[in-house]
Symmetry: C2
Subunit: 234 residues, 2 copies
């Protein structure tokens, strides 16, 4: 295997991808849409967290007497539509992106998925990409998002920073999920996780959440609201 | 991005890899070593299961008045040596394989790791490869193993078969881990998991285990013993 050639091809692909990502980012900014890339291992609870966030966004708007924010979701999956069905059941505008076995999402896929929303996309205040369940490949590919976040579930264990450094390095926030499992995991060292993650990525924000108990969900919603306001220059 | 060209390069790489894998498989068979590839998501409990299996192998040998089986472990990780240190602490002959960010293990890496064992490898009855924490990429790359197994932890959820079909398709056994979490996961539908997995892979063996309680560990050890006997034509 000619490693030199393979790396060369990869570099070329990544550079084309980054150019397309920058254009997409600017385009969605002009549409006043904050675009969020959500990454994690399989089973970390991406779909469940998204459903909890969507519910919170809607409840907050209702409590404030404001119109519901426009929300869209791109559901990336290797093959199936299991998650896309769950999102649709919650009455959220969503598009299913099947990568056909590819372990990451790249810009061609994002652009085709976004086009599939048609005019509906004009009303999005927030667009979420639920990326492929994978802590490795997605870190390499800019998906054109304004902010990238990663989830880490308590049952996975806290010792993941040194194992998956690229992922921890590219995200703006680490969202610890399934905090209701903490009593069962006395070895889960939250302080060590935060410390290690911030050594690698000093600007990282860390949230501790449970979709089951509701812990931390409002804080994550506030984080995204703040990101959107910053994007729009408010 | 020229998808045609990239697929062509990938096919070439895979074909070279498979040839090397077949040679390696034959070589380890001649050495009477059963070589097992262990795959799973990050945090599914690969290292913990390996430690439990090793302990069981040793205890069984002691109880039977037999010599301890020769055990070796190749610990693949993107960057760190977190898992390799745990395996070393259990006094197991191990080699650390850093893929430097690559999301799968391929034969060049296996061969170099195996060579690093030196003469020690001659005494292996079993060699385990703890593959990269990833349910996608490793499925594509034959690692030269005689048997491949995957782990799925209860907290990840049971609905993974349709999401990661290539992985479920290439393994001989599905080892469900962290079964002590089942009481906390009333939605985990074990029957549905088994049914879906066996539709995709009719010969799949399924084990339900907990390294914490010891459930199922002896059954997995028996499975590997049976595989080794079959390999040696006993």
């Amino acid at each position: 295997m000619d490693e030199g050639r393979v790396i060369e091809v990869k570099r070329e692909i990544l550079s084309d991808n980054t150019k397309a990502a920058d254009e997409f980012r600017a385009r969605l900014r002009d549409k006043r849409t904050l675009y969020v890339d959500v990454m994690a291992s399989p089973g970390a609870g991406k779909t469940t967290l998204l459903l909890a966030l969507i519910k919170q966004f809607r409840e907050d708007a209702k409590a404030a007497g404001e119109p519901e924010p426009g929300l869209g979701v791109i559901e990336a999956d290797l093959e199936s539509d299991v998650d896309a069905q769950k999102i649709k059941a919650a009455d959220v505008t969503s598009v299913e992106l099947n990568t056909k076995g590819v372990c990451h999402v790249e810009m061609g896929m994002v652009e085709r998925s976004y086009a599939a929303f048609g005019d509906l996309a004009d009303g999005f205040d927030y667009l979420f990409l639920e990326n492929i369940g994978n802590l490795v490949c997605p870190a390499d590919f800019d998906t054109g998002a304004h902010t990238r976040v990663m989830l880490l579930s308590v049952p996975e264990g806290y010792d993941k920073v040194y194992k998956y450094p690229p992922m921890f390095g590219v995200v703006d926030a680490l969202i610890v999920t399934k905090s209701d499992y903490l009593p069962l995991n006395p070895d889960f060292d939250m302080d060590a996780l935060k410390r290690q993650a911030k050594v690698l990525n000093p600007n990282l924000q860390v949230f501790v959440t449970s979709a089951r108990t509701g812990e931390g969900i409002e804080e994550v919603v506030q984080f995204f609201r703040g990101k959107r306001e910053a994007l729009l220059g408010k």
